[in-house]
Each structure stands twice: as structure tokens, then as C-alpha cells.
């Protein structure tokens, strides 16, 4: 039960660190955020339109139009450029939005919305950073997101356990 003066929960500490890590003092890097990445990012340029499902196992930069579904592997980042228009549900480890997104956004680790970014849809993320001027319309669920892990199989124990998801990350409407 929340009391005004209660100490912060672990999720609080997580969010606090997120806020400080992506706070106003550290503005978004306007250049491609993958410049430091050891992997080269694949890219969907401004003039490209894709309808359907896009999935992949490497970082992706989208500055074009995607309609359908966009799902990247657990360790991949997705950046929506300022010209990007996405009408799709997005799933990636880290998502940076500087364009327009319409759909559910699931960023397992963190979600950054730049000043030109617009999200119209539900958001689920471990950490959230919003720059001034960003537009966000929808339900926000922020907190530690645990991915399903397979426990080592010991003799006599059940083979695999799925780590429980916190109630805050259950999908649903604002009413649930």
C-alpha cells in the first residue's frame, strides 16, 4: 500500500535511474544512435514502404513507412528516424522514436521518445525517457520487464520455470 513517505520500491529505483540517465541534462544524440554500436544497423530508408511483418536479429533504423508488425530479437535496438512512419506493433530491446508510431510499443529494456517523436498506442518498457515536445497518447507501463528464462534442468526438479511477470506488465486496457 503506497504511503506518501514510503521508501521507493525497486521499480522506483529503476525508474529513477532511468530518469536521470535520460533526463533533460542529457539530451538525445541527434545523430544515429548506433554509431557506437559494434554492429552496423540495417536500415529502411525514407523512400521505402513495407507492408507486412518485419523481424530480425540485428539493429534496425527505419526512416520510411512500415505497416504491420516489427519484431526484433531480444538484444536488438530499433530506431525510428524523424521521417519514419510506423503503423505497427513494435518489439525490441531498446527503441528510440523520433518519427511517428501508431501501435503497441514494447521495449524490453528502454524506450526513448525524442522531441519530434509521436507515439499513439500502448507502451510497455523497462525504462522510459521522454524529451520535451514528444507526443505520447496511450497507456504507459514502465518498470522492470523480465523475459522468460529457462532454468537449468536438475535431476528431480521440474525442467523449466518461467519467471513470473510483474502485474504491471500485463497487457490490457486502461481499465484492467
Amino acid at each position: 500500500m503506497w504511503k506518501k513517505e514510503d521508501a521507493k520500491s525497486p521499480a522506483v529505483a529503476e525508474n529513477s535511474s532511468a530518469a536521470s540517465a535520460f533526463g533533460k541534462s542529457q539530451s538525445f544524440d541527434s545523430s544515429n544512435s548506433f554509431s557506437d554500436s559494434p554492429r552496423a544497423a540495417a536500415s529502411i530508408g525514407q523512400g521505402i514502404r513495407i507492408k507486412g511483418e518485419v523481424s530480425g536479429t540485428e539493429d534496425l533504423f527505419v526512416d520510411g513507412f512500415v505497416e504491420g508488425k516489427l519484431n526484433l530479437a531480444a538484444d536488438c535496438s530499433l530506431t525510428i528516424g524523424p521521417n519514419g512512419i510506423i503503423k505497427a506493433d513494435l518489439v525490441a530491446r531498446e527503441i528510440i522514436v523520433r518519427g511517428k508510431v501508431e501501435g503497441k510499443v514494447v521495449a524490453r529494456d528502454k524506450l526513448q521518445i525524442g522531441s519530434t517523436g509521436e507515439i499513439n498506442g500502448e507502451v510497455q518498457t523497462g525504462r522510459l525517457a521522454i524529451e520535451d515536445g514528444a507526443t505520447l497518447r496511450g497507456k504507459v507501463e514502465a518498470g522492470r520487464m523480465e523475459t522468460a528464462k529457462t532454468a537449468p534442468a536438475y535431476a528431480g526438479s521440474s525442467a523449466a520455470k518461467t519467471s513470473p511477470q510483474p502485474s504491471s506488465l500485463k497487457a490490457g486496457t486502461a481499465a484492467d
Binding site: N15, S16, L128, D132, T135, G138, A174
Partner: protein, 236 residues
Amino acid sequence: MRREVPGPIHLTSRSRTPGAPPPPQAGATRAQVPQESNRLSNGLKELLWNLDGLERGTLLDMGPASQTTLSFFIERGFRVSSEDILRSWKNFLNEEEARLKQGFASGETLEMTPSARAARFMKENLQYPRSSFDAVLLWDLLDYLEQAVVKQVVASLTELLRPSGVVFAMFHTKKPEGFQRYRVVDSTALQVVPTAVICPAQRVYQNREIQDLFGRYRTMKSFIGRDQLRETLFIK
């Protein structure tokens, strides 16, 4: 031995606070850039007091998405929904204008009475199931919306709130000159952020009009600030 040569007297004659912006150059306009400032908020304190004890509250923030405000409530276990109703209204007006031009060209008619327009706006906005929220941050947005829209927004919020839910609203006691947004800094203070005008202020509501608007709420509590801003809590 080197000797420091003093700079021109016009640069040294006035002391300046370290970090202060440089003085304006000759001929430059003296337009003052409004600064962000913090204000103590008894309304916010009262809102949080009312929400005290909620295990997993749900909150609708009708202002612009703000890192500090969202973090503040998420850290306290709230599930937050964000919908910048004023920005949506502005976009809607632009779309209406475009629709009107198209309709004029194609000979179609579009009912342009305030109530019809408000009804069209509400079809696309605040679409949540009934009793979705424990609290709504309405800020001072009613001062900037057309009256027909205001009535429908308040009616819609009443449906969206759970019993004992709280609306935190602000009303200007004089027509505001500028336009400002608000962020929750901590449990006692709001940050006031002057921004470019999205929609001009429509009117100043008198106490009686506010009571009539929120007539379906059981409690209304107001705090009048020195900055011509009245913070009001409505409890359903």
C-alpha cells in the same frame, strides 16, 4: 613581466552573475524569454492525500507527456495513461478545416455547430472504458477549449472516473496572457513551463459555472494561488 591589460570599460563596468546570459547588444529587441518556475501546489498535495492508500492506481494525464510527471506517478505504482487533449483539439481543428474545404469542393455538407463539432471530436478522443481511472490531471485545459467541448469533456471524464475518483483541475481567475504547461516536480510543487500558444484562452470560469460543470461530483475543493490560478479538486 606581463601586465594584464584591462578590457574596454563598457565590458567591465557592470558586474555580471557568473553563468548569467550576456547583456543584449545595442539595437536588439528586449523580448523577455519566459522562464520555467516552480510553484507550490496545495491542490497536488490534496490530490496525493486523496490517492493515498491506493495499491495500484490508474491515472490519466491530459497534459503533454512529461518525463517528470510520468515518472513521479509510475514510481508510486500508478498505471498512467497520457493524452494531450489540447494538442488533439488543435489537430482536430486543422483536420476539420481540411474536411470543410474538401466538402466544399465536393458539395458535401458538414454540420459546423459547436456541439456537432464537439461530438465529432469526442468520437476520436478520451476513448476508454467506463470507470478506468482513479485520478485525472486536467490541468488548466478547460480554459482553452470551446465551451461545447468543455461540457462533453467533463461529462466524459465523469464516466471514466471510478467512484471516489479525483479530478485535479486549474482555472485562471484572469484571462491568461501566455500559455503554460505543468509538470509534477515533487509531492508539493509543480513546474510551470511557458510554451508557445496552442489554442488561445477561451474564457474565465466563475465559481458558479465551475460548480455547475462538475455538478455530478460530491466534493469540490479549491485553492487560490497568488498567480491568478485556482487549483480545484473534484471528487466523484
